[in-house]
């Protein structure tokens, strides 16, 4: 008798032009945290979507508690005791937190909603998980991080046997991540089983029990967490060793290119001043809601500046709309890929050349040849995994969409790059490629502002790190003096002054 709660055997799935999964199997034991790892596009989300009944599998069988099951829609999955946190945030912005969290699982008298009971349930779970969101806020008003926490809370509250999480921590900061892990531990003790997809090794080594590694849609290896190492996992994922996630930086820091003096912006930003130099990577850290994204948007003309000055290459500039910033050679890689980064129905090529189309055109007529060349160049440079430049971007894996969008902004050949969480959802190999790209940018005299909630990344890549708290600058640390503890202290400490 096997002791697997879930078995997926011989699962295959192809999309036109892509064999996403080939005879993949996954065996999950009772009460473990089972991790799925693999490069972007390896097929992790596809497998999970099959389990959720969102995609139809071409071949294969699924067993739960050793019994064969057929899952044709999400409802079937819930009935079998599985709940999900999907890779793409799935919320209804126009409903409240309580309404979202109980959606599909309402307490009711017949078909009349028992509002009181629902509110009580939601309040309870939020409190239990120590999540600081009001049950009656509109979800559209929440930050990405808060939305993610809410979805986690929803999945955890469903009394499921198996909880599947596809990159739940991609948009969380350390505090929330810790909170989540505590919760997973305690549910594990109650016998809940987890399937956990992530590109973050810290996560895997903190809570994982076993790992199934995928590579190019096939099983690469099953590993036991406590007997393996980062290097071994990477080897199975990528098929080679990655020497150093954070490539060496050895280049000159040049003259000041951007000087920000005491800017206050409409949303959140107060009295922020700093200088950015050519060749510099300046990190921006802070807890969720500290104002990282607001600062990035302010510098991109998308968060109106109320007072203060911005001086670019010695000249005062006004940034009233994104066009102004783009004209001043400032680029912003936005935080939310799906809603702000891509145009889902356009091809990869069209997405990559979107910002620079006017440069590729004469008298408003787009030069197709140049357009194609540009797309090809960036697909190659950042290694976007797509069957052709003419693939509709929506059909790429999450990480590859992100890479394509990085390509879109690199194509602008801007002087200053504002990168808001650029490696969110990106695999370890691609991450180091992106760090290489950042190095390449700075080497050629450009400057980078890296807004990130991943401290190792900030420590590994940045020359200096600014720490934000509640819209203000709480402090600046040079690479030498910065440590995770130091940054955390500044992140939370600021609130004492308020």
């Amino acid at each position: 008798m096997s002791n697997y709660i879930l078995e997926m055997n011989d699962i295959s799935k192809s999309f036109p032009g892509v064999k996403a999964l080939q005879n993949v199997s996954l065996k999950v034991k009772y009460g473990e945290v089972h991790c799925l790892m693999g490069e972007n596009g390896a097929g992790k989300s596809t497998l999970i979507n099959i389990l959720a009944g969102l995609l139809e599998k071409d071949t294969g069988e699924i067993f739960i508690d050793q019994k064969p099951v057929s899952i044709n829609n999400p409802h079937d999955a819930y009935r079998n005791g599985i709940s999900f946190i999907f890779q793409e945030l799935s919320v209804v912005d126009t409903l409240t937190v309580e309404e979202n969290m109980t959606l599909g699982f309402e307490s009711s008298y017949g078909s009349i909603v028992n509002k009181k009971e629902n509110i009580k349930r939601v309040k309870n779970i939020l409190q239990k998980l120590n999540i600081d969101i009001l049950y009656n806020s509109y979800v559209g008003d929440l930050t990405v991080c808060e939305k993610q926490m809410m979805l986690i809370a929803k999945a955890l509250s469903q009394d499921s046997k198996i909880i599947v999480m596809d990159e739940p921590t991609a948009s969380l900061t350390n505090k929330e991540t810790d909170e989540l892990f505590k919760m997973i531990e305690s549910l594990k003790e109650e016998g809940v089983t987890f399937i956990y997809v992530s590109h973050r090794f810290e996560d895997i080594f903190t809570i994982g029990d076993r790992i199934t590694v995928f590579r190019d849609g096939k099983n690469a290896k099953d590993l036991i967490v406590k007997d393996t190492s980062e290097e071994e996992i990477i080897r199975y994922m990528v098929g080679r060793n990655i020497e150093d996630t954070f490539p060496k930086r050895n280049h000159e820091i040049g003259e000041t290119i951007l000087e920000v003096e005491k800017i206050c912006a409409k949303e959140l930003i107060k009295d922020v001043s700093f200088q950015l130099k050519r060749g510099q990577v300046l990190g921006v850290s802070g807890l969720a809601g500290a104002g990282k994204t607001e600062l990035a948007r302010a510098l991109f003309g998308d968060n109106p500046i109320i007072s203060g000055h911005i001086t670019l290459k010695g000249q005062k500039i006004n940034l009233n709309k994104p066009q102004d910033a783009i004209k001043s050679k400032i680029a912003l890689l936005p935080e939310e890929r799906r809603t702000q980064g891509i145009v889902g129905k356009m091809t990869v090529r069209e997405n990559i050349s979107l910002v620079v189309s006017n440069r590729l055109s004469k008298l408003c007529v787009i030069n197709r040849k140049k357009d194609r060349q540009l797309a090809k160049k960036y697909i190659k440079d950042i290694n976007v995994k797509t069957p052709t430049p003419e693939q509709i971007i929506r059909f790429l894996s999450g990480g590859n969409q992100q890479k394509a969008i990085i390509g879109k902004w690199l194509a602008t050949e801007a002087d200053i790059f504002l990168l808001d969480e650029p490696t969110r959802g990106i695999d370890i190999g691609a991450k180091s490629e992106i760090y290489e790209i950042i190095n390449g940018l700075t080497k050629s005299g450009k400057a980078v502002l890296l807004f990130s909630s991943e401290l190792p990344e900030l420590l590994g890549v940045c020359d200096d790190i600014m720490v934000m708290n509640n819209g203000r600058l709480a402090g600046v640390l040079s690479n030498e003096e910065a440590t995770q503890e130091e940054i955390m202290k500044l992140s939370v400490g600021g609130s004492d002054h308020e």
Binding site: H75, S90, V91, D93, L103, Y138, D141
Partner: protein, 328 residues
């Protein structure tokens, strides 16, 4: 503190404000406006638009649309008259006619939900086809012969001092206000409109809900059709052209947005009343029909603009909400 409730109250309040402004303007300009009989007339005249709009509110919250309603009231009215003419008693005839509306709704749903056809095309298609069927059922002209005296009770009768269509309208609004704001169906309607994919991922049977909403709209349109036929004491196949526009205006004025996920039944009611008061008032003032077109167009747009301005450009519903939260 329940801020959702608050914001909804606010929204209602604002659109009510616009209705009141219109009423005050007309009351000042015409003595006849603010009389019991005239108010009763307005309510009765708009009852059919309002009843249909109650269903359309649900459909339009999910970003659906039904422009076949104008033809459907004609068809159900004709069926009602035809059956009564053939000797069937009023009540069963009326129920069958309402059911006919439900069937049109079901056909719309099967095209939109089943065959995934764009709702505009699907209901335009049924708008044409149903109109043709209404003519055929009626044999090309009005069905007026051999209808009993009490055929007109539904449309012209009273319960106490209140016209029956108004009573029906009020009942419909009470029921559907409850359904939208308190039941699972209402919540799922908002969820589907807000994000269909999320609704599906949450295990909601989106297709079933959508079918139900189109059928409800069809049934309510069927009800409007029987009231209309009774009011006209005949089954008229050519009736109801442009009715879909009145319904759509009422729903959008009432606060449903094109992007879906928002809107209330009370808002729609007030939207329908704004339309009714506007044309009643302009007629009372004896405004030239050509100028009526112009004024109607301008007031429509102004009402929406005013509503948005009061709400702070349609966005500050949320920011208001946030401010309330911040204080709580």
């Amino acid at each position: 503190m329940n801020s959702r409730l608050n914001s909804r109250y606010l929204q209602r309040f604002m659109i009510i404000g616009i209705l009141l402004v219109l009423c005050v303007v007309f009351a000042v300009m015409s003595e006849e406006f603010f009389t019991y009989i005239n108010i009763r007339n307005i309510l009765r005249q708009q009852s059919m638009v309002a009843i249909t709009a109650a269903g359309a509110t649900f459909v339009m919250i999910t970003t659906g649309l039904d422009i076949s309603v104008g033809s459907t009231i004609a068809l159900s009215g004709v069926v009602f008259a035809k059956l009564v003419q053939g000797g069937m008693p009023l009540l069963p005839a009326c129920l069958i006619a309402i059911l006919v509306g439900g069937i049109v709704g079901l056909i719309n749903a099967s095209m939109i939900v089943g065959a995934k056809i764009n709702p505009v095309i699907a209901t335009l298609g049924s708008m044409y086809a149903v109109r043709g069927i209404a003519y055929l059922v009626a044999g090309g002209t009005t069905i007026a012969n051999g209808l009993p005296k009490n055929f007109n009770v539904l449309g012209r009768g009273y319960i106490g001092p209140v016209p029956i269509p108004v009573v029906i309208m009020i009942l419909v609004y009470i029921v559907f206000h409850f359904v939208l704001s308190r039941t699972l169906l209402g919540k799922y309607t908002y969820a589907i409109g807000g994000n269909k994919e999320t609704a599906r991922l949450s295990g909601i049977s989106v297709a079933k809900v959508m079918v139900l909403l189109y059928v409800i709209t069809g049934l309510l349109t069927g009800l409007s059709g029987t009231i209309m036929a009774s009011r006209l004491t005949s089954g008229n196949p050519q009736i109801g052209t442009g009715f879909e526009f009145d319904v759509i205006i009422a729903v959008f004025l009432g606060g449903v947005s094109t992007t879906g996920g928002e809107g209330t039944i009370v808002g729609t009611f007030i939207g329908a009343m704004i339309v009714g008061v506007l044309s009643n008032g302009l007629n009372l003032l004896g405004v030239d029909p050509f100028y009526q077109y112009i004024i109607k167009g301008i007031v429509l747009v102004l009402a929406v603009m005013l509503d948005m301005a009061l709400k702070g450009n349609g966005l500050s519903l949320k920011s208001l909400n946030k401010r309330i939260l911040a204080k709580s």
